[in-house]
């Protein structure tokens, strides 16, 4: 029978980052189980933004640590992930939102983040190709940016493999073996694997994996659609995003514009079909704000999911009910950008007893039990 110290369920960016960091800090007796291929879930379907401008202070810290790790990603893994620190332009379309942004910026600056407030006039001057009609205020964080999520996912997986981690793709976890509230192993389509620790990094399926271990994970998955245009010449270095305007958009290294929005009417569940209504609503909204898009063509439209937690913040930690069951789930649409710091922190917690660079205790599942909690507002 094969056995590992730690089995990670999910070969997306979160599972891969945890695997890489575990191996990097010395724990190489690790395997990753992915039911499809690497980056087949939310990672490979996401927009690729890397943002530090959050409304919750701890998220800012976590994101800032992630950026530090993205900056040395190539050095660490040998993979060029098309990382570009072109900034993030947050656009507020209401007075309420503008007031929130001003409050956030104050907090973000306290945390040492470089960020500035821009009037609509300043936005127009800097980016004449944006229609600033109805814009109330914007904030700009120059060290935010974006990267290619597939390449980042592959980068971590390849680096982890190199350090000795085993990766099982097209291998589905069917059950988790728990005896006397303690993890014993996992049953998979490739057989039984004995292990001491299981880490749930299953993204959209995190709730189901929780059930297998008898641990209630309060996450719900919702479809999010996204599409990409043909390539234009590069001129748009930053990610543009609005929470009350409900959109985000960036230009990839290859010149394509990738964009999406949320849909409040979306029903829970995994759904990878796409709707034309989405294209219609996006076209109407985006051409108004970014008129240069009018004659651009959409070439591919797909869907992934947000694994939402009740407060739109990730749930990271280890269960107090089942020994050896840990989780990094419920990233609510921003798992890609947090993955480096989360993988590092959880690996350090498991190996050294606590994270060394950034705190993650505030993301423990207990925060969601009964008490009131702070909902992260900066989510599309």
């Amino acid at each position: 029978m094969k056995s590992y110290k730690i089995c990670i369920i999910g070969g997306g960016i979160i599972g891969s980052s945890i695997a890489y960091h575990l191996a990097k800090f010395g724990e190489k007796n690790v395997a990753v189980f992915e039911k499809s291929y690497i980056s087949s879930g939310s990672t490979g379907r996401c927009g690729g933004g890397i943002r530090q401008q959050w409304s919750a202070r701890m998220n800012v810290r976590l994101a800032m640590r992630s950026v530090k790790l993205f900056e040395r990603f190539k050095e660490d893994t040998g993979f060029d992930i098309e990382y570009k620190q072109g900034g993030y332009l947050l656009m507020a379309y209401s007075e309420d939102e503008a007031a929130r942004f001003e409050k956030n910026v104050k907090m973000q600056k306290e945390e040492g983040l470089e960020v500035e407030i821009l009037s609509p006039k300043m936005v127009k001057e800097r980016y004449p190709y944006i229609n600033t009609e109805r814009l109330v205020l914007a904030t700009f964080g120059p060290t935010d940016g974006h990267a290619n999520p597939h390449l980042a996912n592959f980068g971590y997986i390849f680096a982890a493999k190199k350090l000795g981690v085993d990766v099982y793709t097209h291998t589905e976890v069917e059950d988790i073996d728990v005896v006397n509230k303690k993890i014993m192993g996992i049953n998979t389509t490739a057989g039984y694997f004995k292990c001491d620790v299981v880490i749930n990094a299953a993204g959209g399926w995190s709730g189901e994996i929780g059930k297998m271990a008898g641990v209630d994970i309060p996450t719900t998955s919702y479809r999010h659609q996204i599409f990409v245009t043909e390539a234009l010449e590069s001129f748009f270095p930053f990610m543009a995003i609005s929470f009350d305007g409900n959109f985000y958009m960036r230009q990839t290294k290859h010149g394509q514009f990738i964009m999406g929005m949320g849909d409040p009417d979306e029903k829970p569940g995994i759904n990878r079909d796409v709707s034309f209504r989405f294209e219609r609503e996006m076209a109407e909204k985006m051409v108004k704000i970014f008129p240069f898009l009018e004659n651009t063509r959409i070439i591919r439209h797909w869907a992934g999911c947000y694994n939402m937690s009740p407060d739109a913040q990730p749930i990271i930690g280890c269960s107090k009910d089942v020994e050896g069951f840990c989780y990094a789930v419920g990233f609510s649409g921003h798992g890609f950008m947090l993955a480096p710091a989360v993988g590092e922190a959880l690996a350090q917690k498991l190996i050294f007893g606590r994270p060394k660079e950034v705190e993650i205790d505030f993301l423990d599942i207990d925060r969601l039990k009964g008490k009131s909690f702070e909902v992260e507002g900066n989510v599309v």
């Binding site: 499809s36 291929y37 690497i38 980056s39 087949s40 490979g44 597939h150 390449l151 592959f154 390849f158 493999k161 793709t169 097209h170 990409v228 043909e230 390539a231 290859h254 394509q256 990878r272 796409v274 294209e279 219609r280 076209a283 109407e284 985006m286 051409v287 898009l293 009018e294 004659n295 651009t296 063509r297 959409i298 070439i299 591919r300 439209h301 797909w302």
Partner: protein, 603 residues
């Protein structure tokens, strides 16, 4: 009004290799020197020479021209020698010499005790129909534009003249990204060094002997040229005329000494065709018929930069000896010996003959003439030297760390290699100014040849290349095995693996052009090689492979590439296509404009 009047014990006219070395030799011995030079900066022709020089290791050999210029300029600066740049010496009048400072548009009067004329030479022109068309350049002009100013004056070149200058310019044009369609040479042999000729031949540039240019074609600028064969009397054979399409014609048909100032100084001029035509008569210490006037460099005889520097030193020391009374005969002797060695071989024959007419004897012979016969022990990584002319040059011998290479006691000797001593380090390959040394090693299944390479971009390990033989003929495909990067002087060594047996034939390679590369995905320009490389890296899951290479992410939605890439993967893994590619094809099936979606609202 006060006039600018300058005094110098020695006035050097011309800041090329001869003038600068003369100035250095004199200044080192306490002479007050002024150099007047026409150029933007001193260095003369050296500043535009990007090839490595031949000669004695230790006497600037294996350094590139512009690097030699830098060394000389630094010495001049450190010695505090005054240099007037962008200044032309317009005349030696009976009361003073007059220089014209072109930058400030003013004249400067100069008093001097001695003069060293190092005015060099000008390019010869050629008479043919339409030779005034824009697009007809001298080789020097092409080098200036290309190597000093970074401008390539055309795309497709015809070069007239296969002396060293024509051959070197052809090579430099190729390095700069131009194409040389042909080199025509009216005589029946290449005038320049064989190693220089080989460098261009193996790139596939034809050298057409007994050919010349008849006419430049074009209105307003060169669009082509008519070339033809000539008979033994150099007359054009009409029926051999043919047109070639070029946009630039580069004349490299020789130089003539610039004797204008020598004539004004009333030194005796003699006509010696072997030395370039009219030249000042001078003795073995470079003194002309006027006792305070010396000459050096191309003005003294059309030769090359290394001999110009040796002559410069001799003249400088002779002048310093006159002025200071110091005995510098040993120094002069040393450089005369250097000159004798440079002129001893077959390429010095003309010079020897010319100098004899002036009563100066130069010894000849006394060096090894036999070629090495053996190719070395099969299977051992070793150097192979393809240098079969008696050229005064020995950097290979000097650089070899195990003393495996020797030129037989004289710098003009053919280098031989002792294969028991050769350790395969390839230092000689990187050093050889003629790029005439290669590395060879045979294995059971394949062979590897190390090729000196001075082009950009450098290929990467694993990259496919097109193999070429000594004549530039494509003889197959190879794979880059190893790249030895030579950061110091940029002659890199690229080891290419090839079919066994080709190691005796292949001496050059080129990178496949984009059109030749086997494109799998047209939208994202992914080649077959990219796909194979990614699979080898470990991207054996088709969906991962697609995402890594962006296959199918372009406007065509994967119509071209999907099955091609899947086929490559299937073959590599020994699986069927159905097994590996469950495909998700996403809308829209053709690119859909935002504007069309918006107009969907209109009734």
């Amino acid at each position: 009004m006060d006039r600018a009047r300058v005094k110098a014990q020695l006035l050097v006219v011309g800041g090329g290799p001869a003038g600068l070395t003369g100035a250095i030799a004199a200044a080192e011995n306490g002479v007050d020197v002024l150099v007047v030079d026409e150029g933007l900066e001193p260095g003369g022709q050296l500043v535009k020479q990007t090839h490595k020089f031949f000669g004695h290791q230790g006497f600037y050999a294996s350094k590139r021209g512009f690097e030699i210029a830098k060394i000389l300029k630094d010495k001049v600066k450190n010695l505090g020698i005054k240099v007037m740049s962008q200044t032309t010496l317009v005349g030696f009048y009976d009361d003073c010499a007059v220089a014209y400072d072109r930058e400030n548009n003013r004249t400067i009067e100069i008093d001097y005790d001695y003069v060293l004329l190092a005015t060099g030479a000008s390019e010869r022109f050629l008479i043919f129909k339409n030779n005034m068309l824009p697009g007809v350049y001298g080789a020097g002009a092409v080098q200036t534009l290309m190597n000093q100013y970074g401008v390539l004056p055309g795309e497709d070149f015809l070069i007239v003249g296969a002396g060293n200058i024509g051959l070197i310019v052809a090579y430099q044009i190729m390095q700069a990204g131009g194409n040389v369609r042909a080199i025509v040479e009216i005589s029946d042999k290449v005038g320049g060094y064989e190693v220089h000729a080989n460098k261009v031949k193996r790139m596939g540039i034809p050298i057409l002997l007994r050919h010349t240019i008849v006419e430049a074609i074009g209105k307003g600028r060169v669009k082509g040229a008519v070339i033809a064969r000539v008979d033994e009397n150099y007359r054009i054979i009409e029926e051999t005329k043919r047109e070639i399409v070029v946009d630039t014609i580069c004349l490299a048909v020789g130089l003539q000494p610039s004797v204008e100032l020598a004539n004004q100084l009333k030194v005796e001029l003699v006509y010696i065709p072997e030395l370039g035509g009219y030249i000042p008569r001078r003795d073995e210490n470079m003194r002309t018929s006027a006792s305070n006037v010396f000459v050096a460099g191309d003005l003294a005889a059309i030769e090359e930069a290394t001999s110009a520097m040796a002559e410069g030193y001799i003249a400088g020391y002779a002048i310093a000896q006159d002025i200071t009374g110091k005995d510098l005969s040993k120094e002069m002797e040393r450089y005369r010996e250097e000159l004798n060695d440079l002129r001893r071989g077959p390429f010095g024959e003309k010079i020897r003959k010319g100098l004899r007419k002036m009563g100066i004897d130069v010894p000849s012979g006394g060096y090894r003439e036999e070629n090495q016969k053996d190719f070395g022990p099969v299977g051992k990584l070793r150097a192979v030297i393809e240098c079969y002319q008696n050229i005064p040059c020995n950097p290979c011998e000097a650089v070899c760390p195990t003393n495996a290479i020797d030129t037989g006691g004289n710098i003009n000797g053919i280098p031989h290699i002792n294969y028991e001593k050769c350790v395969g380090c390839a230092m000689c390959v990187m050093k050889c100014p003629g790029l005439a040394i290669f590395m060879v090693q045979e294995f059971d299944e394949y062979s590897v040849v190390g090729i000196p390479y001075e082009f950009e971009p450098l290929p990467e390990k694993g990259q496919k290349v097109i193999l070429m033989d000594r004549g530039g003929k494509e003889v197959g495909e190879g794979v880059v095995h190893r790249v030895m990067v030579n950061k110091k002087d940029k002659t890199h060594v690229v080891f290419v693996a090839m079919e066994r047996g080709l190691e005796r034939t292949v001496r050059h390679f080129r990178l496949p052009t984009r059109e030749e590369e086997k494109i799998v995905c047209r939208c994202e320009e992914v080649t077959r090689e990219d796909v194979e490389k990614a699979i080898d890296m470990g991207f054996t899951d088709f969906e991962e492979l697609r995402r890594y290479l962006r296959i199918g992410m372009g406007p065509c939605g994967g119509r071209t590439c999907r099955l091609l890439a899947a086929g490559i993967l299937a073959r590599k893994l020994g699986k069927s296509i159905e097994e590996i590619s469950p495909m998700t094809l996403r809308p829209p099936s053709i690119p859909l404009p935002f504007s069309a979606i918006l107009r969907g609202d209109e009734k």
